[in-house]
Every structure is written in structure tokens, then in C-alpha cells.
Symmetry: C2
Subunit: 345 residues, 2 copies
């Protein structure tokens, strides 16, 4: 099966995406893979499989590789007298901006290129943590209490310390701090506001249990990964999470009751249903005082959370055969005709 891995992007998580792509090269070696790199200036490059190494990008060597363009149905490479098409499904592996904010989804949809990844609405509701809260509230999925703070506004905090401060629209723990007392708040806000004008504050829950669950819908059924209890220090900072993005060995499932597993899956399905079709996502949950709380939706998780699946290649193949289709629109100019007639033009 042909699969194009699209990675990079004009995103703070650009480098993480490169690591994800290198990891998937190994995990999806049974596929006929193509690698499409999106540079931070939005130029696309075709990267030879043998050059899929961190150095290619950090040295700028990718800029000497063939440039790709978009047209209806595919990416293509121009040469003097011909065009070479890149056929097959695209796997959107751009983390953060571009990939997770709806840009890539809209772009590929516009050019009718089939792709694995979240659609525009799904991006809006998962990329910005505020909107994830809106979604969960509407769907009756519990989350941690929160407050929105805005740059250059007087912000009265009404959540008790310790708190966790996060830029609204970044993953991978970038710009995130735990604040134990008021004296530390200004610095934490300065850091977070560097990445986003909107910041989310939540209580930092002591003694919380954390569980990650990935899944996707294929052939009208949900397919879930094992549940992982992530190896947790106080919280993973960017560098530790970064190493996390290159994980490729299957992990052991968390030792939890069937009841809890079912609860996590139930909450996952509520969020996924009619919103995330076409994507393999990871939901990160908290369990606090016996309540399941949704912490975060990762619509393009690091290295696609491959390590949570027994047969990851099969998951990607199944998913690629169950991609949602946009409704076709027919225009017959009936109304324009009738108006033109009415006006006598």
C-alpha cells in the first residue's frame, strides 16, 4: 500500500514531527512509503527514505531535494518536460500548528487528497484547550476545572494553588509550568504568554492517576489500543516528552479494572464520535476521586502512539480504508436562471 508521510510544518513542534516521521519509517516498513517534508516556509520537499535522518533537516540538506507542488488529487514533482505524481493516501504527521490547527486538513481536502488525520472541526476542538473544554461540556465528558487568562488583561485568579499554567494552543508541554505559590505566577505567565495570547489555568491535582488511550474508527467500529499508565514524574517537560516521540516498542497495558477500561473507552468514544473520523487519536485521562476526567485530546499523537497498538501497521491500513468523504455538491444554476428571467436579463 502507498502511504505518504507528511511531516515538519511551521510549528513549534516542527522538530518533534521529524522525530515522529523517522520513528514511523521503521514501524511502517511493510508499506510503500514516501516522505513529504513541509518546511517552515511552507515549501514541500520529497525526502529520499535513506535520508530520513535528523541531520538532513538540521543541516538544511533537505533544501537540495525535489520540491513538490499540490494539484487536484496529489502532490507532484515538476521536471523540465513532465510531472511525476505522488499517489496514495497521506498520513498527516505534522504536530501542532499547520497539522493540528486545521490547515493541512483543509489543504488536502481542497485538493481532494485522501488523508489520515483530523478534519477541520476536529482540529479546532482539540488544538485549542479552551475549545476542548467547550466540547466536553456539551458532550457531558468531565474535565478539570479551568480558567482562561489573556495577555495584557488584568487577570483575577480564582483557582487555588498549586496550579498548572498552559498556553491554550500548544502540545508537548511547551510553555507549561506548575505554580505552587503566587510569587511564581508572573514568571510562569510570561513563559506561557510567549507562545499564546490565551493561557489556561487548572488546579494541579495531587495524587492523580494518569491514563492514555488511543483509538480510531474503521468499518463503523471503534478500535482501541491498550491503556497505558504513563511513566510520570511531576510532569514531563518538553525534552522528556520529546524523547517520548521516538518510542517504538509496544508498552505493557496498565493494570486496571475492566470497569475503568470501559469508562475510559466510553468517554473516548463520546469525544471521537462524528468528529474525529479519519484520525487515530490519543486521549489522555486523569482519574481523581474515582472520577474519569479528560485532560487532553492529541489528534496527531507523537509517533501516532504506535507503541500502544499490538499491530500498528494493520491499524493504519484499516483506517486508510475507512476515510470520511465530503458530500459532493451539484450546481445546476437553476436559481440564477430564474432570477435572470425575472429581471428580464
Amino acid at each position: 500500500m502507498n502511504l505518504s508521510i507528511l511531516f515538519g510544518g511551521a510549528s513549534f513542534e516542527h522538530e518533534i514531527s521529524i522525530v515522529s516521521a523517522i520513528t514511523l519509517k521503521e514501524k511502517l516498513s511493510t508499506f510503500n512509503l514516501t516522505f513529504i517534508f513541509c518546511d517552515t516556509d511552507h515549501t514541500f520537499y520529497l525526502i529520499e527514505a535513506s535520508k530520513m535522518k535528523a541531520k538532513t533537516f538540521s543541516s538544511g540538506a533537505h533544501k537540495k531535494m525535489p520540491v513538490l507542488h499540490l494539484e487536484k488529487g496529489c502532490f507532484f514533482q515538476k521536471s523540465m518536460f513532465s510531472k511525476t505524481q505522488i499517489d496514495g493516501t497521506v498520513l498527516n504527521l505534522i504536530h501542532g500548528a499547520d497539522g493540528e490547527d486545521g490547515t493541512v486538513a483543509a489543504l488536502l481536502d481542497f485538493y481532494t487528497i485522501p488523508f489520515i488525520g483530523p478534519r477541520v472541526d476536529a482540529c479546532t476542538f482539540s488544538y485549542d484547550k479552551r475549545y476542548t473544554k467547550y466540547l466536553c461540556e456539551a458532550l457531558d465528558v468531565k474535565t478539570v476545572e479551568y480558567q482562561v487568562l489573556r495577555k495584557n488583561e488584568l487577570n483575577n485568579l480564582h483557582i487555588a494553588y498549586p496550579i498548572i499554567v498552559k498556553p491554550a494552543r500548544l502540545g508537548s508541554s511547551i510553555g507549561v509550568s506548575i505554580v505552587k505559590e503566587e510569587s511564581e505566577l508572573d514568571y510562569a505567565l510570561d513563559v506561557a504568554f510567549e507562545f499564546d495570547e490565551t493561557v489556561i489555568v487548572e488546579p494541579f491535582l495531587e495524587g492523580v492517576k494518569e491514563y492514555n488511550l488511543a483509538g480510531y474508527c474503521a468499518k463503523d467500529a471503534m478500535h482501541f489500543s491498550i491503556v497505558e499508565e504513563p511513566n510520570k514524574e511531576e510532569f514531563l517537560d518538553f525534552e522528556k516528552k520529546y524523547m517520548d516521540f521516538s518510542r517504538s516498542e509496544q508498552v505493557l497495558g496498565a493494570v486496571i479494572s475492566e470497569e475503568l477500561t470501559a469508562k475510559l473507552q466510553h468517554n473516548f468514544k463520546k469525544v471521537y464520535d462524528r468528529m474525529f473520523e479519519g484520525a487515530l487519536i490519543r486521549c489522555d485521562f486523569f482519574v481523581h476521586n474515582d472520577q474519569v476526567l479528560l485532560n487532553e485530546i492529541n489528534p496527531i499523537p507523537g509517533s501516532m502512539a504506535n507503541y500502544l497498538f499490538e499491530d500498528f501497521a494493520k491499524a493504519i491500513e484499516e483506517l486508510s480504508q475507512s476515510l470520511p468523504h465530503k458530500q459532493k455538491v451539484k450546481v445546476n444554476y437553476e436559481y440564477i436562471h430564474s432570477i435572470s428571467k425575472a429581471k428580464g436579463k
Copy 2:
């Protein structure tokens, strides 16, 4: 000032967009206008101003006009030995799918083309009436009670008749019915489900007052239009609303109290703020039992609601000078370097 009007699109409201564009040709005659038509197959055509007539499109004559392509910073026209760039700001005038669902916003943002119109998040929250409800709930803006029905599911209606049935993601009253009793429900649902798999049901409020208000943010301040009390029959069907899209004469303001005007503006601002920047939108409100209820957000209203503004050309000029900018991302490959070193590669 150069302004490119982008219209058409693969949308059920394709023809309405053509009428809007023809109307704006007159209203914005002081601008240096270019007309870019997006056909239903997503080909862009450059339309000569003198050909901006309904017949050009209904006869297919537009297919003989120059094809435009997208590249960084602009649309351009290829000829044998050269490229002609179309410079200036784009006004996104594609109603419905493509224009209002985030596709065009993402496309223009990706190619860094400045544009007037809703950004991706703003589209998600206004295009789908369900998500407008989510947004209003989160922002504490009152709306009409509602229920979501889904195709091919057993739907237990818990709203009393008469009700109004609407496809979740269409404007211009397409697929909308008023249902007075149960015997009429199945037919109304069949009609609505033809356009969307998700349908919104609301109580049909008798004796409701309707008010429309348009506005935009420029130079950090909100600018509001007059408030209009639309000429209302039971409700405007597609054909009547369609004629509405070619309106160009300024209407008289509704005779309402300063207090009500302020309330409408307050609710408008709550919804617009930090979401719709870059767009001129129209919000349609109900007043029922002395309560202001938001009925609908039109992020690209028919003919840009020009008839509600005293000086529409000035509004568009001001807006074009206050477009939001995406945060620039710098990548220094610091993390990749440190990982490569740690691994000794």
C-alpha cells in the same frame, strides 16, 4: 486599493455567492477590484469585470477565462513565458461550504495571502449550528433551546410543536422547515437530512422579534452597523433569501430603544471577540419574552450586509488594514542536535 473578490465554491450556496459578488462590484466600485471565481471542481478563474453577470457562470463561459494558481503570497496566472501576480487583499465571499467551513481560510493562510473573512476556528463555530450553541453556552450568550437529531438513528423528540428543523451546516434557509405537528415531521427530516447527517430542532417561537446586526473590529475597536428588523414572513425560504443577497440599498434602522441596541451589541461583541477578527459578520438575534437570544452567526453574510452600513466601502477599507497576523515560528533544530549528540549519531 487592490481587492480581489473570491466567490463561487463547491457549496450549495454557490449561486448565492455569484449574486453577492455581482452586488459588491457596484458597492465597491471605488476599489481596484479583481474577481476570482472558484468553480465547484476547485479550479480558480480570473473573471473580467465586464463579464461579472449571472449568465457568464450559468452558461459555462467562465471556463474559457484565464485559470489562476496559488503560490506563496498570491494567486497568479501562468502564460507561456511568464507569471502575472494578482496582488492585494482577498475578500472571501464564498458562502457555505469552502468559504465558511474553514477551507478557504486555511488555504489563504497557508499561502500567506492577506484576506478579509473568518479564520478557521471562527468558521468551525459558526458554520455548524451545533457548535454555535457550544460557543454561546461557554460564553454565556443565550440561544434558543435545541436538540440534535442524527440520520439513521432513533430520535426521540423532546421539544413541543411547532418546531423548526434545520440541517446543522447550511445557511440561506436551505432544507429548513417549520413543523406544526407530528404528521409533518418525517417529511421535514427527510428534506433536512438530504443536506446534512446532523439536524438541529428548535421550538418555533411565536411572536418573536427578529433583529440583525453586522459589525467588525478595526484598530482595536468594534464598529457596528445599524440594527435591522428584517421584513419577515413566517420565515424566508431559499428563493426569497436569495433575492435578499442582491440587496444594495441602505435600509432604515429598526425603531428600538438604546438599551436594546446596547444589549444586541454586547452579545455581538461577546461572540466576535478573539474569534472573528478579520471578518465582517452579521449576527441574527431573536427577542423573546424580553430576552435577547442569538439565532445565527453569518461569518460571510450575503453581499457582506453592505445595506446595513452607512459607508460600506470605508468599512471594508478599515477592516483590510486590521487583519490578524499568524505568529511566526522559528525553528533552530536545537533539540534535534541535542538528541543526535546524546545518541552519538
